[in-house]
Amino acid sequence: MNKITPLLFVTLLLIPPMVASADLQESLQNGKKIYHDYCSVCHGDKGDGQSFVRNVIKIPPLDFTDKKLVDQFSVERMRWAILLGKPGTAMPSWRFDLTALQISDVITYIQKELMGLELEEPVSPEAAIYK
């Protein structure tokens, strides 16, 4: 037993990160599909805002890859924009089309894959805006 205990301890230490990683992967996968179904037509496949629609809408779609804007794209701000839209712009409200989990998944995808932020866990669907 004495020989096994340290091994068990190490194994237990490894489990939480592995679970988080699986959650993150699942969230990224879901988020990618949602992004391409709902967002990429305006924000572009690469999230850089380069799309057909760019030249004909009042305010061009945001460029998620612009490092200067990273600070502006907080999770809560993105959640609000997706949920309620941006009045006076082409950004519609997706409140009736996307669930809290779907919104958090797409934010996870945008932040990690398009903005290049380090994420160890997916964005939580829990938020004050829903309460």
């Binding site: 037509v41 496949d45 629609v53 004909v56 809408i57 009042k58 839209g85 082409a90 519609p92 409200s93």
Partner: protein, 376 residues
């Protein structure tokens, strides 16, 4: 008579003011014998609608209202509440006072003119619209509004401001009754059946029953017939956003430059047969009774097999806009007209007839007014 191009910059700063397209023309002029060209500097004129003395132009750079008697024009764009300046459809509400604009990325715009000024309201996803990309709007006899979008179709019955009055139709919720979620055209026949033109064929909604047809049923000419006329048009008109749809195609040989399932234009004829303009597959006539297609291509006299616009005149002649000019079809013979001369471009995106007998043709850059007699 060629006219001076009016300055887009001038338009921007005077967009709320009426102005005259012809600086020297303030009185209505006798009908000229030759086409008049209005080069307004837009990328393209996607839609033309006539209403009495008014001509509505849906363009890539805003919505124009032209008084065809005085040539005064009003340009509506962002400053007038539009979110997108690319207008894909213009529909007159049965109430006679309201215009509905389908926009590219900016939702559905409701325009009510009040004392010469427009009051604009935008309807978008939060109201119940499937998608902010709107391609066509039609009204049935009961006053229901049918909308084609890039994410399926909508039907609005009653107060448009109540979300419960919006019904969605998608490939998924119709159990694939709707051929595709990319709905470009809506037509309603006298039996109040709803026809949808999509990127993967034609669908029909009759009551609650769906039917659909595609290239396997005869829509669009086969690649063997049109192969020599298939050329690279992707760079001119299409974009990468169509790539995802190619995998859904049922037609052999379908690619970006040939897709007989892609309904680019659609019009119900006087006998209520359905005419369909396809992407490289020519013009298709769907006999509604026998449910069979007859296809017309360059072999039959079309200028091109890429058919962008269809419009019947009051004699029942079908006018056909293609990427290589204009043609007409009287049911027997296809004739080519003004393939280049008189038109601003080879691309004919839109057509309409106004009450004064003029035939209006929209293309790249602007619109051409052709006196009807000059068509012969």
């Amino acid at each position: 008579m060629w006219v001076d191009r009016f300055n887009p910059f001038l338009l921007l700063i005077t967009c709320l003011l009426s102005f005259n397209l012809f600086a020297a023309t303030t009185e209505p002029q006798p009908q000229p014998a030759a086409p008049e060209v209005f080069d307004i500097g837009v990328d393209h004129v996607k839609v033309l609608e006539s209403a009495g003395s008014k001509l509505y132009l849906g363009t890539s750079d805003g919505f124009y209202i032209l008084d065809i008697l005085t040539n005064d024009a009003l340009l509506l764009d962002y400053d007038n509440g539009l979110i997108s300046k690319s207008i894909h459809s213009v529909t007159q509400d049965p109430d006679g006072k309201t215009l509905w604009l389908g926009t590219y990325g900016g939702g559905l715009a409701k325009l009510v003119m009040q004392g010469g000024m427009p009051k604009t309201e935008i309807y978008n996803v939060r109201h119940g619209l499937n998608d902010s990309f709107v391609y066509d709007v039609e009204f049935d006899k009961a006053g229901n509004m049918w909308i084609g979008t890039w994410s399926g179709a909508n039907m609005v019955s009653g107060d448009i401001n109540k979300r419960a009055n919006w019904t969605k139709y998608t490939v998924e919720n119709t159990n694939k009754g709707l051929s595709d979620d990319w709905v470009y055209a809506v037509e309603i026949d006298s039996k109040q059946r709803i026809w949808f033109g999509t990127e993967v064929g034609v669908s029909l909604l009759e009551g609650e029953k769906w039917k659909k047809w595609d290239h396997n049923d005869g829509l669009g000419a086969g690649i063997d017939i049109v192969r020599k006329d298939v050329h690279d048009v992707k760079t001119a008109l299409r974009g990468d956003h169509h790539e995802t749809q190619i995998s859904a195609q049922t037609a052999p040989g379908a690619n970006y430059n040939y897709n007989p399932n892609y309904v680019v234009s659609m019009e119900l004829g006087p006998k209520e047969n359905l005419w369909v303009g396809t992407w490289g597959g020519g013009l298709s006539l769907f006999d509604v009774k026998s449910e069979t297609f007859t296809n017309y291509t360059t072999r039959d006299g079309l200028p091109s097999n890429f058919v962008l616009a269809l419009q019947f005149d009051k004699e029942g002649v079908l006018w056909i806009g293609t990427i290589k000019g204009l043609a007409s079809f009287d049911g027997k013979t296809i004739k080519q007209h003004y393939q280049y001369a008189g038109l601003l471009s080879r691309f004919v995106y839109s057509m309409t007839f106004s009450d004064d007998g003029s035939f209006w043709v929209g293309g790249r850059k602007g619109v051409t007014r052709i006196p009807t007699a000059a068509n012969e």
